[in-house]
């Protein structure tokens, strides 16, 4: 059972830049979270000046499933069809550190005590990092909702923030799961069909081609970045083993070599901390950025899809109207239908255009911020390593 309290301000700086209006009418954050076995309980804290809420300052406890429920309800709401719904936060995944902990337990016999404690510390730090990441991702989801002019007023959103008892979101039963799965399949099939149709509107056509292409590339990049940061971490872990073995050799040795080995071991220990930081910073700034925008682009693609669906509906309604006129039956109804479709489509197109433009800007800003931060951190860590190495080399050369 681990509990996280927000200690350093640095954590407040979100790794992924979200374009938030600093409107303090609705401020949300997750100051605390509890990890029980498989479940993570988030404490969602809201501070607001809006009248729609009962209290100006309150907190509730929510689980990951509640977030998913909120996301799905928003997606299914017709009204928001023309908006990019912020992507749902991914499920907290403690699989990787858990597996490593297991392996460490198995290999305990072969390591010295210090080595084991150090590896354990590393693992605990990794666990903590995963934990922090998941908290952040959930927080950002809520904050994007709160900063969106339309979505922040959603009734479900308010319930989510306010309802002080357990939401007890009913887990999707088998039928609904299957239904959801089926819907997804239909959606992707439709997507393929629709992506083939050339859009009349130039803007949307461009966006579509761009987003489709970009999505596949960013997915690929995310996977490769993940692999890269993982091997970086492995290298840092190796330093621990080497440092520990050097210490054992130095303990037995009683020639002049002893001091050299000890210094070398010490240096490696410090270096590996730096390397570990490099790996985790890279993960946060680069991999997380790519991952987040991959999901965001998926949401944008969903918007395009919905618009294309609306267009298809409109065209269908046109055809229905023509048929009705031919048969002179239910003309009024068909006309009404067609008008509705047209309205819907226009609304979607308009809000879609706005959303997509702001999305573009958001993305560029986020990339800029993260790339700059990553470069600066890499430089800082490398300079740190340099000073450590130089110090050690001088010490060794003197003796």
């Amino acid at each position: 059972m681990t509990s996280l309290s927000q200690d350093c301000d640095k954590e407040k700086l979100r790794s992924v830049s979200v374009d938030l209006n600093n409107d303090s009418s609705l401020l949300i954050d997750i100051p605390d979270a509890l990890c029980e076995r498989d479940k993570v309980k988030f404490t969602v804290h809201t501070k607001t000046t809006l009248n729609s809420f009962q209290k100006p300052d309150f907190s509730v406890s929510r689980q990951h499933e509640d977030f998913i429920w909120l996301h799905d309800t928003l997606v299914e709401t017709e009204e928001y069809a023309g908006l990019i719904i912020p992507p749902a936060p991914p499920k907290p995944d403690f699989e990787s550190p858990r597996e490593k902990m297991h392996k460490l337990g198995e290999g305990e016999a072969t390591m010295t005590k210090e080595e084991y404690t150090k590896m354990k510390q590393e693992l605990e730090a990794e666990y903590l990092a995963v934990f922090k990441k998941t908290v952040q991702v959930h927080e950002i989801f809520l904050q994007r909702l709160s900063s969106h002019p339309n979505l922040s007023k959603d009734r479900n959103f308010q319930i989510f923030l306010e309802y002080d008892q357990d939401l007890s979101v009913r887990r999707k039963n088998a039928k609904e799961m299957f239904g959801g799965f089926f819907k997804n399949m239909v959606k992707s099939a439709d997507e393929v069909l629709i992506s083939g149709i050339k859009d009349v509107d130039e803007f949307f056509e461009q966006e579509k081609t761009f987003l489709l292409d970009y999505f596949s590339k960013i997915k690929d990049s995310t996977a490769k970045a993940e692999k890269m940061t993982r091997s970086h971490k492995n290298v840092a872990d190796d330093y621990i083993h080497i440092s520990a073995t050097l210490n054992s050799i130095a303990a037995d040795d009683n020639t002049a070599l002893k001091q050299h080995l000890e210094k070398f071991a010490e240096l490696l220990e410090k270096l590996r901390k730096v390397e570990g930081r490099v790996a985790s910073d890279q993960e946060l700034k680069l991999t997380e950025l790519l991952r987040y925008y991959m999901r965001d682009i998926q949401a944008a693609k969903d918007l395009l899809y919905r618009r294309a669906r609306a267009l298809a509906d409109y065209e269908n309604s046109n055809k229905a109207l023509d048929k009705a006129r031919l048969k002179s039956k239910d003309v009024a109804q068909a006309e009404e239908n067609q008008k509705q479709c047209l309205l819907k489509f226009d609304k979607l197109s308009e809000s879609g255009k706005k959303e997509l433009t702001s999305f573009k800007g958001r993305r560029v800003v986020a990339f800029r911020k993260n790339l700059i931060e990553m470069a600066e951190l890499e430089i800082k860590h490398a300079k740190n390593s340099i000073s450590l190495l130089q110090g050690c080399i001088e010490l060794l050369k003197v003796n």
Binding site: Y214, M228, L257, V364, F367, A375, E376, I379, I386, L389
Partner: protein, 509 residues
């Protein structure tokens, strides 16, 4: 002697046939010699079969080694110190070097003295003010198919008067290096000197090279071997006694060296070596030495502990090298992926930044690759070398133990002879008595000799271990500093890469 007459009578055509079939011929020949020897014992020395003692068989085994050399046409000049000589010097053979009847195959050695040797400084620590630099370079493949092999240029630069010229170079192949080791270990093992062991054979690696695949792994293998051979030679010449040795000097200087076939893995001598090693292992377990000097016991324990720890360290560094290589390839893939991402990005400034990022990652990949090489060649190979050296040190301790054993055996034989004499005094056989007295004097001399040998080996070993430790300390420190410097260099380059990227990132609008 019978055997020599046989050899001289062999005709030229037969010689060629012998050449082609030397592998199993060696066995045939040695078996024949063994039978000859046994017959000699039984017939000429009036011994009965049950009177053959282990010493005879051991002497026989040594003969086998010698005759293996002879029959396999590699007339390696061997100064025979027969440690188990029991007055049978007349059988062991000529002690002057044999005339070589080597057909040098045309493809074998191409002396290359015209090129200038490359510099590689290795300082001498002894009081003499001379210098000897050795470099091993220019691996070249000779021959083709499964008979192909690599030759390396061994260049020497020296001010030593013992050599004919100041700079010279020769071409040697891997088996020559192994042959040098064999010669040196036979000569010096009994004196307690620590002989640096050569790099290990690798059937897999060499087969790849022979087959002729021009892939990076076989190039890496050749480079690894070349560096290992260089270090081996540098260690050999840094030993003051070995530097003066004629075999070493010949190895460095002589244009064409007779092929040391006894080093082949599947030759008769290879099998014999295995048998000897097995018998040594059994010996070690059964003999408990009465240690008068605690220093040796504690030192041996230290050496064994260190070997274990170094082995672990070697494994960890190996895993580091592998992970870094993995990081290298992952970075390369990531770089490509980011480049594609950048090309499909619509915002031009961001697109430029992303392709810059791809370039940075590409440079990082190269960096990681070089770092992995440095990890490997500086640390891993150093550790592997020292693991082998520690094995050699242990071997020297074993030799000392064997010397002690021999001394004890000589003493017990002397005791037996004395008892025999006492018995003869009782039974009153004057002619046998004379023989017995002569035996006793002989064995007293032998006991004295063994004791002196043992003392000598003990003191040499002590000195050698001290020298070894000093050198190890120096070596490790040197390599650690070198490794740290390489890490430092790569970190500097890292900083440069990222600093170049930063303005591009800031330029995104």
């Amino acid at each position: 002697m019978q055997v020599h007459r046989d050899r001289i009578l062999i005709k030229k055509s037969e010689q060629i046939w012998i050449e082609d079939n030397r592998h199993w011929l060696g066995w045939v020949e040695t078996f024949r010699i063994l039978l000859v020897f046994l017959r000699q014992q039984l017939v000429y020395n009036y011994k009965k079969v049950w009177e053959l003692d282990p010493g005879d068989v051991l002497g026989c085994a040594q003969m086998l080694i010698f005759f293996m050399f002879m029959s396999s046409d590699a007339t390696v000049e061997l100064t025979l110190t027969a440690p188990n000589s029991r007055g049978r010097k007349e059988i062991i053979g000529p002690t002057e070097p044999l005339s070589t009847t080597v057909n040098t195959h045309g493809k074998l050695h191409v002396a290359n003295t015209s090129n200038k040797p490359s510099e590689e400084v290795e300082e001498e620590e002894s009081g003499d003010t001379f210098e000897l630099n050795i470099a091993v370079t220019n691996p070249e493949k000779m021959g083709d198919g499964m008979n192909a092999y690599m030759t390396y240029k061994v260049s020497t630069q020296t001010t030593l008067p013992a050599f004919r010229s100041k700079t010279f170079s020769v071409r040697r192949r891997f088996s020559d290096f192994l042959g040098l080791y064999e010669k040196l270990s036979v000569k010096y093992n009994l004196m307690g000197c620590i002989i640096p062991p050569p790099p290990q054979k690798s059937v897999v690696g060499m087969t790849k090279v022979k087959v002729g695949k021009e892939d990076p792994s076989s190039a890496e293998f050749v480079e690894k071997r070349r560096a290992a051979l260089e270090r081996y030679l540098q260690r050999v010449v840094s030993h003051p006694a070995l530097l003066q040795d004629s075999d070493v000097q010949e190895f460095l200087e002589r244009e064409e060296l007779p092929r040391a076939v006894n080093t082949q893995a599947l030759s008769g001598s290879g099998f014999l070596k295995m048998i000897n090693k097995a018998s040594d292992a059994v010996n070690k377990m059964t003999i408990k030495m009465n240690e008068s000097d605690n220093w040796f016991e504690s030192k041996l324990q230290e050496v064994e502990n260190e070997e274990q720890l170094l082995r672990r360290l070697h494994a960890s560094v190996d895993s580091l090298v592998n992970h870094r290589k993995e990081l290298c390839s992952n970075t390369a893939m990531f770089a490509k992926s980011v480049a594609m991402l950048g090309s499909s990005e619509e915002n031009s400034a961001l697109s430029r930044a992303l392709s810059q990022l791809a370039e940075v990652e590409d440079k990082l990949e190269q960096l990681h690759q070089e770092q992995a090489f440095s990890d490997f060649f500086t640390l891993t190979e150093l550790l592997a070398d020292y693991l082998r050296l520690l094995g050699a040190v242990r071997g020297c301790f074993e030799q000392r133990m064997k010397a002690w054993q021999r001394w004890q055996e000589a003493q017990s034989t002397l005791q037996k002879k004395r008892e025999a004499e006492a018995k003869l005094l009782w039974s009153n056989k004057p002619d046998k008595l004379q023989q017995a007295k002569e035996d006793i004097t002989e064995w007293e001399a032998k006991v004295g000799q063994c004791e002196r040998d043992f003392e000598r080996i003990s003191s040499t070993l002590r000195k050698e271990v001290h020298r070894f430790e000093k050198e190890k300390c120096r070596d490790f420190k040197h390599h650690i500093v070198k490794y740290l410097e390489s890490l430092l260099r790569s970190q500097h380059r890292l900083v440069k890469c990222w600093e170049a990227f930063l303005p591009e990132a800031k330029a995104i609008v």
